[in-house]
């Protein structure tokens, strides 16, 4: 049985709560909310959240908004997009391929942004939370032991 559980944990990589929860978050024990709230108002947490959201909003406006604008331009200002560039290639066709380039650029900048600005701080905060939780999990045990004595 321990071996089975061990291999399960390795496969699923979620050592905190191997059994599924129903309806409530996995670690909503007595000590849960305190730790969460502390992290929630941590300045690092706010900067992580802000960094993710600001980048997402701007990049989304550029790539998805840009694409929808391009669709509207194609429909309502075809003369602009039909301007020939070279051979049979028009401004519109080049713009269509350009959308793929914008998409690739967005994905690349997003990855770089997340790896530089978000991931290190998020890892730190997560480690802090796990440390807090582990510390709290130890305390009651010690008290119980003392009580026993």
């Amino acid at each position: 049985m321990p071996l089975e559980l061990h291999s399960y944990l390795i496969r699923h990589g979620m050592p905190q709560h191997p059994s599924p929860y129903y309806g409530s978050p996995p670690d909503s024990t007595q000590s849960g909310p305190v730790a969460r709230n502390k992290i929630g108002s941590h300045p690092d947490f706010r900067s992580v959240r802000g960094a993710h959201r600001r980048f997402g909003a701007v990049a989304l406006a550029i790539s998805v908004g840009g694409f929808l604008l391009f669709v509207l331009l194609s429909s309502f200002l075809p003369d602009v997009l039909n301007r020939p560039l070279f051979g049979h290639v028009t401004l519109g066709l080049a713009g269509g391929v350009g959308q793929f380039a914008v998409m690739a650029l967005t994905a690349w900048r997003y990855t770089v942004h997340m790896e530089r600005r978000v991931d290190p701080a998020a890892d730190r905060l997560r480690a802090e939370m796990h440390r807090d939780a582990a510390a709290r999990a130890r305390v009651p045990q010690q008290q119980r032991r003392f009580g026993g004595w």
Binding site: G13, M14, P25, R53, F76, P78, A107
Partner: protein, 545 residues
């Protein structure tokens, strides 16, 4: 080595493809099905763990995850329908393909990471964690929307299999039709009920690899014929279309009037926002066990989808250039035959068989992904959490999930048999519109808006669903046109065929309105609920440090 027979003449009555190709397709398809079915049985969940049935192997590499996402995402509609659209309408078809890939930016930037971090098995779990006081009612609403979308899209896939068969046999008899739908539907049910997510993932990966290789080989053959000169290919397409440079300009399909231009914009909104919110695609985002793995998986998926879409554009242009637009339109007015005709011309019976087998496997894989998402929602959200109120054992829930797959599959088959003549694109576009106007607003609000509450969630879910369905019912799709379901009647007061331009803003507006107007104290959640949820969504606390 297979010896190729002389090219079969293309005739209308016998379908596009000759008998040898049909046999080869059948053999290829059966071998793929047999191999993947055995593999699905071997890697199927053995124990009573529901997490394995719903999420599969959570430690897959980003490349495999990306392939599976790509497999779930790209349906046979992309391979046959979109390339046909390019072949017939040039620029407008190409723009449609661009929209299909841009939709992934939405997934990457906005939804994927917070959804994975806060999610568990289904979208309902995320919503229940965010709105715990009304978790049953929001789960019910979300399950209802999920089932509507998945069943619509599933019926589109099954009906599509008949349309594909038509390319071989000409107009199929009713017995052939029934046999085709029942065979494909049964295979889908077997994959899902026995294999669960591991089985579905395997067939997705097989299909994605076949799709990428298949379109790459055909696109290389097209480009090689034009000496890798894109301008020559465009020139060939322009002359093959019979209308010259006009083919490479916007408006061929959607440029007739302002109404049809708005219709195209409406369709693009539904695609860009709705494809990202399709339940089976979203459910796959929950599988990776770490945020970084998810991010790299999505980058793979974006790259693969982008590549397939670019290659599909080349195939469409190549079909017009090499086969000719009139020939394609004569055989199938929607253009679904374009790729098969192109393959016949470029690589003879062998390539045709490969591409048609690819199309069947694609249908099968997407249908399996959809059935799995529907069965998960039915078993986990509806049965375990709403009906049994969280008291069901894992074994019980697993049995219900397997049975749900059978129920959904049978329902899909019955609906497909009833509506086999329907235009599959209409069903698929309605599914995208519902996803964009019901599921997307709810998920975006619950991930990012502190005040969002159950009233808002219910209003945006039911409201978005009802708005989209009503607008389609009151559109030219259903009445007033020669091609509609009821050509005789006229209750089409909404002029567009795609409801997205109205229903997506309506979904967001209803969610906002419901949240702002909620007055009962039970509607709002205590503020620490959102704070806990937010920490979870931003940091992903379930990952190993």
């Amino acid at each position: 080595m297979v010896t190729l027979p002389p090219d079969h003449p293309v005739t209308l009555s016998a379908g596009v493809v000759g008998g040898f190709s049909l046999k080869l397709t059948f053999i290829l398809f059966v071998s793929v099905v047999v191999v993947s079915m055995f593999t699905a049985l071997i890697i199927a969940p053995q124990g009573d763990e529901i997490s394995e049935f719903y999420l599969g192997n959570r430690t897959m590499t980003p490349l495999r995850n990306g392939l599976a996402m790509c497999g779930d995402y790209l349906s046979a509609a992309t391979l046959l329908g979109s390339t046909g659209l390019v072949a017939l309408t040039g620029y407008d078809g190409l723009l449609y393909l661009v929209g299909t890939s841009v939709a992934w930016v939405m997934v990457l930037l906005l939804i994927a990471e917070p959804l994975r971090n806060s999610g568990k098995f289904t979208l309902g779990d995320t919503l229940a964690l965010r709105l715990p006081r009304s978790r049953r009612s929001v789960r019910l609403a979300l399950a209802f929307c999920t089932l509507t979308i998945t069943v619509l899209y599933l019926v589109a896939q099954l009906v599509g299999s008949v349309a594909l068969l038509t390319q071989f046999l000409g107009e199929p008899s009713s017995a052939t039709r029934t046999l085709c739908i029942v065979a494909i539907g049964t295979l889908v049910v077997l994959y899902v009920a026995l294999g669960g997510m591991p089985g579905a993932t395997f067939i997705q990966i097989v299909k994605a690899v076949m799709l990428v290789v298949g379109v790459a080989v055909t696109a290389v053959m097209v480009l090689h014929r034009y000496q890798w000169n894109v301008d020559d290919l465009l020139g060939g397409a322009a002359s093959g279309s019979g209308i010259g440079q006009r083919f490479l300009e916007p408006g061929l399909r959607y440029g007739g009037s302002t109404t049809s231009k708005l219709d195209f914009f409406s369709l693009q909104i539904a695609i860009v926002l709705g494809l990202a919110a399709l339940p089976h695609v979203m459910m796959r985002l929950l599988a990776p066990s770490a945020t970084r793995v998810l991010r790299r998986s999505i980058l793979w998926a974006m790259g693969l989808v982008g590549f397939v879409c670019l290659a599909a554009g080349v195939l469409g242009l190549g079909a017009t250039a090499i086969v000719g637009r009139d020939v394609i339109a004569d055989i199938d007015a929607k253009g679904d035959a374009a790729v098969l005709l192109l393959a016949q011309d470029l690589g003879g019976a062998l390539l045709t068989a490969l591409i048609s087998c690819l199309a069947f496997v694609t249908l099968l894989a997407v249908a399996a992904g959809l059935t799995l998402a529907a069965a998960s929602s039915l078993a986990h959200d509806l049965y375990a959490e709403v009906i049994r109120k969280g008291r069901a054992s894992q074994r019980e829930e697993l049995t219900v999930a397997r049975l749900s797959a059978v129920v959904i599959g049978v329902l899909g088959m019955l609906l497909a048999l009833v509506s086999w003549g329907t235009n599959t694109a209409t069903l698929a576009f309605l599914a995208f519109a519902i996803a964009a106007s019901a599921i997307l607003p709810t998920m975006v609000y619950s991930l990012f808006w502190r005040r969002f509450n159950a009233r808002g969630a219910l209003l945006s879910l039911y409201g978005g669903l009802i708005t989209s369905v009503l607008l389609v019912v009151c559109s030219p799709v259903v009445s007033s046109r020669p091609g509609s379901f009821y050509p005789g009647a006229d209750f089409a007061f909404f002029p567009l065929q795609n409801p997205g331009i109205v229903s997506v803003p309506a979904g967001f507006l209803l969610g906002w309105l419901g949240t702002v107007l909620a007055s009962r104290p039970t509607d709002t959640e205590p503020s620490e609920t959102y704070e806990k949820f937010e920490v979870r969504a931003v940091l992903g606390v379930d990952q190993p440090v």
